[in-house]
């Protein structure tokens, strides 16, 4: 009954302004049973782009897809370090044929959410839907930003795409050798090379089965019509302003796995207490508004307009957590803070093809290392990040499979004296007497640092580095570039030094170490680092599952990176998520972006305080 009322209401809302006005007047006067509906209101830091899994890449859009679609595999919610578990398949496949074959068996009886396109019939999820999604990644018409996942990997797929490009027709019915639908529920992949990390692709909320009739039925705007098998459905979408998810009534339900919980972790215990044994999800409706500006996003939480605030902007951290403890005001409000060490790294890369900062000769290598030594990372942490960060020692963030907690190098420690000594020793001294160092051949130089425009933190980091380098006698001009242009310039090597961040797509160190693999130049190796020994080790590591042997190879690779210094390692950020007391069972997963699936709300307590 309740659903009916609301649905009618929504249709009217989109109808006319007058009707909207009426509904607005009527709705608040509805009987009080609307109270039991659990609504979560939160903000995103940036606007989403849309919800066609194969067409998106930004974490906000992907985060929504996480709740609408089901990936074949996912992560156990509580297990740390993270653990891959089956989501809609019977088991996590083991690499067969030397790590080149992976077979998934989808559980029977999983249905897509009801949608007019299915004409009232229930639509079961089958293996062909997965095959279709994989093919969509490579369809040139989709311009998928993640098409690289399936490039140069599955037997016969590249040849198929090349042929399709020639003929101009991309045939979704074509059979591809390495992409076999064995029966209604089974799909098997054959890879060209062994790759044990292949299974991680199937944890990504974008590598999800989609129904072909939905994609084709809403071909004009697939971004706005996501239909999946997951716990939520897209109810309402005002682009870049409001996303409303509602519980999928046809959803099969899931439960909280408590087996891997940490008995000593109060968050785990609280989650078990609130969610254990219940059929999830519990939240009925989720309203998300993107708020780019930090002040309104923060104040909206403080003003009881949102249930929780994820990734509290660093500037405000002392309002919430002075000296790492909740402020008295926050304590009075019974607010809790969840601290997350994110599996990501911020860094500055050097363009190794650049005549000034690039090169592999001892003087080039020493020059880059001197720049790194000159950078005062403690200021990056204390001032820019307000203490909410950990200095990175390798590209691999803590918590990832293959992270080495015993690895750190003196080459990463701020030491202006060593930096100056190195520059002096290599001949980077001031020859023309203008107060700035010149190249060993006597030519003056200025470095150019590209950073992301419109982001205050990026600007501060640029400010910091320019300042630190000035202290050792090197000029650096910082240039703000639109984010899209920044990515582009980095991709094609049109930069000298530039800073960005990389977040784990999957929890293996390989996701970060691939950023230095020579053949990935122009794809993801933005430093354009090419070192044969590194590439050899990388290829060797691919052929191994997680093991001490592979860790040894990773350590060796990290040593090479410290010596040749294609990056200046920044930090691994710490995010503080602050929660109102009525938010129950909250936990943040390091790889998954949202927590809606495992969350509850005390709606009565919420109603008493929250602004409606």
């Amino acid at each position: 009954m309740r659903w009916l009322v609301l649905k009618v209401g929504h249709r009217r809302l989109s109808g006319s302004l007058f009707a909207a006005f009426l509904v607005a007047l009527v709705l608040p006067k509805l009987p009080a049973h609307a109270v039991e509906k659990k609504t979560l209101k939160i903000a995103f830091r940036a606007a989403e782009t849309g919800f066609d899994p194969q067409k998106i890449e930004d974490r906000y859009s992907v985060g929504i897809c996480e709740n609408i679609f089901d990936s074949l595999l996912s992560y156990d919610w509580l297990a740390r370090p993270v653990k891959v578990v089956p989501q809609i398949v019977e088991s996590v496949p083991v690499g067969e044929e030397g790590g080149t074959r992976f077979t998934f068996r989808i559980k029977p009886g999983i249905y897509f959410a009801n949608d007019p396109i299915f004409k009232g019939k229930r639509r079961e999820l089958v293996a062909k839907d997965m095959e279709y999604a994989i093919k969509r990644f490579r369809d040139p018409a989709n311009r998928s930003p993640y098409s690289w996942l399936f490039e140069d990997r599955i037997v016969g797929l590249d040849e198929f795409v090349a042929a399709a490009k020639k003929s101009g027709k991309y045939d979704y019915e074509a059979h591809i050798e390495g992409l076999n639908v064995l029966d209604k529920y089974t799909i098997s992949f054959k890879l060209r090379e062994p790759d044990y990390n292949f299974i991680y692709f199937f944890t990504l909320p974008i590598v999800v089965p989609v129904a072909r009739e939905v994609v084709e039925g809403y071909a004009s705007d697939t971004m706005a019509h996501p239909v999946g098998t997951g716990p939520y459905m897209l109810k309402e979408w005002v682009r870049r302003s409001k996303i409303v998810l509602e519980k999928n009534p046809d959803y099969r339900g899931h439960t909280l796995e408590t087996r891997y919980a940490n008995p000593a972790d109060p968050w785990d215990q609280a989650a078990i207490k609130s969610l254990g044994g219940k059929t999830l999800p519990l939240i009925d409706r989720i309203e998300i508004s993107p708020i780019e500006e930090e002040q309104p996003r923060f104040l909206a939480f403080m003003n009881h307009e949102h249930d929780y605030l994820e990734e509290t902007p660093a500037v405000f951290i002392d309002q919430i957590l002075p000296n790492g403890k909740l402020s008295p005001e926050m304590q009075k409000r019974n607010i809790r803070a969840f601290r997350e060490e994110a599996p990501e790294i911020t860094y500055d890369s050097f363009n190794l093809d650049d005549p000034v900062v690039g090169g592999y000769k001892p003087e080039n290598v020493g020059f880059r290392r001197a720049l790194i030594l000159a950078h005062d990372r403690s200021q990056e942490i204390s001032i820019v990040r307000r203490g909410q960060a950990i200095a990175a020692q390798s590209p691999v963030p803590p918590g990832l499979i293959g992270f080495d907690p015993t690895f750190h190098a003196i080459e990463q420690e701020f030491n202006p004296a060593r930096a100056k000594a190195m520059l002096d020793m290599l001949g980077y001294v001031d020859k023309d007497g203008d107060g700035w160092r010149d190249l060993p051949d006597g030519k003056p130089f200025r470095l150019t640092y590209k950073y992301r425009a419109t982001e205050d933190t990026a600007r501060q980091l640029a400010e910091l580095w320019a300042k630190c380098l000035a202290d050792v006698g090197i000029r650096m001009d910082a240039v703000a570039v639109q984010f899209a242009d920044l990515l582009k310039d980095r991709k094609v090597g049109k930069y000298q030094v530039s800073g960005v961040a990389w977040t784990a797509d999957y929890p293996d160190a390989q996701n970060f170490l691939q950023l230095f693999y020579g053949p990935n130049t122009n794809i993801s190796n933005d430093a354009r680092f090419k070192w044969p020994e590194y590439d050899r080790l990388y290829n060797q590591s691919l052929k191994l599952p997680d093991s001490p042997e592979r860790n040894k190879i990773y350590r060796e690779m990290n040593r090479i990176l410290v010596v040749y210094a294609p990056w200046r390692y920044g930090v691994h950020r710490i995010f503080n998520h602050i929660l109102n007391p009525w938010v129950l069972g909250y936990k943040k997963h390091p790889i998954l972006f949202t927590s809606f699936k495992y969350l509850d709300i005390d709606a009565v307590a919420q109603k008493a305080v929250m602004q409606q």
């Binding site: 809302l13 006005f21 849309g50 890449e57 311009r143 930003p145 508004s289 639109q482 602004q611």
Partner: protein, 312 residues
């Protein structure tokens, strides 16, 4: 009159053509390569080529210009590069919230401005007049950004009179809950220049012969002001309102960003940040058309209000 309107409409065509050329020159010539903007986290040269083909940027310029003109005439600007949403849809859905804020702003600003200006004109030359003008000048010299930051902090958060941000689907809720603070801010900021301007209009009239005649007839200063001066000063005031009318469609992107109002200004700003050229191009061309039409309407109205005006 009819002939005049027809002629004016004809004259709009070369101007519109100029706007189209200017926008085309800016975005297709000066602007960067859109394909690279679009390519994602990891991509390759082949994919970039593919995107360029889809967008038609590998075609000669004359062809691209033809496509652009066709888009304008058919009201089909294709889709946003960033989100693939139909550009026309973006513009249509965003106008509502912007107008919800800007129409009350324009009305309040004009009404309060006129009332205050006539008061100030009445006491012209006195210390009060000078003091108010001084306050206006000072108020005008503070950046809008400062007003927004401070007001949001004080009224939205510290005093808690208004929500800090937000927007709903219901017009009633918006106008009662979410819109007041941004509207008040915009009115407050717009009032100072309006007051100064309107005062000068009143003073222009005060020195006219007919006012002297009216006074000579023995009419009281109040009657002169309210009856004669006000009526005549309304003409330049209304013209001024007409001039600022097209501006309300753009709204204030600062207000919209800070108060999470899903309006046109914020949309255009997002498009600027995402280098989403189709959205900016469409917004510019259509708002230019709106501007021209509104200007025409104002001229015609002007004629209706003041028969002395000769339309050329």
């Amino acid at each position: 009159m009819g002939a005049y309107i027809v002629r004016r409409l004809w004259q709009m065509i070369p101007t519109l053509a100029g706007v189209v050329l200017l926008i085309f020159f800016l975005f297709n010539w000066v602007g960067g390569d859109p394909a690279l903007v679009l390519a994602g986290k990891i991509t390759n040269a082949e994919q970039i080529e593919n995107i360029r083909k889809q967008l038609g940027v590998d075609q000669p310029y004359w062809y691209q210009l033809w496509v652009f003109v066709k888009q304008i005439v058919t009201f089909d600007f294709g889709r946003s590069w960033a989100t693939n949403e139909a550009v026309s849809n973006i513009l249509i859905t965003r106008v509502g919230p912007t107008l919800t804020i800007m129409i009350p702003v324009l009305l309040l600003e004009t009404m309060i401005g006129v009332v205050l200006a006539i008061g100030v004109a009445y006491v012209r030359g006195t210390l009060t007049d000078r003091a108010i003008m001084m306050v206006c000048t000072v108020a005008m010299s503070i950046s809008f950004l400062v007003y927004i930051i401070v007001a949001q902090y004080i009224f939205g958060f510290q005093l808690g009179w208004f929500p800090v941000q937000g927007w709903s689907d219901s017009f009633a809720k918006n106008i009662v809950t979410y819109a007041p603070l941004p509207i008040m801010l915009a009115v407050f900021v717009g009032l100072a220049p309006a007051l100064r301007l309107y005062r000068s209009f009143f003073l222009d009239e005060v020195n006219q012969d007919y006012v002297r005649t009216a006074r000579a007839k023995g009419l009281g200063e109040k009657t002169v002001m309210m009856k004669h001066v006000l009526r005549n000063a309304m003409i330049p005031i209304l013209t001024n309102v007409g001039i600022s009318l097209p501006g309300i469609f753009v709204g204030s992107f600062l207000l919209e960003t800070f108060f999470s109002i899903p309006g046109l200004g914020r949309e255009i700003l997002t498009a600027v940040n995402r280098s989403d050229f189709p959205v900016i191009k469409a917004a510019t061309v259509y708002l230019a058309v709106v501007t021209m039409l509104v200007n025409l309407a104002v001229d015609v109205l002007y004629k209706a209000v003041d028969p002395r005006v000769v339309l050329k």
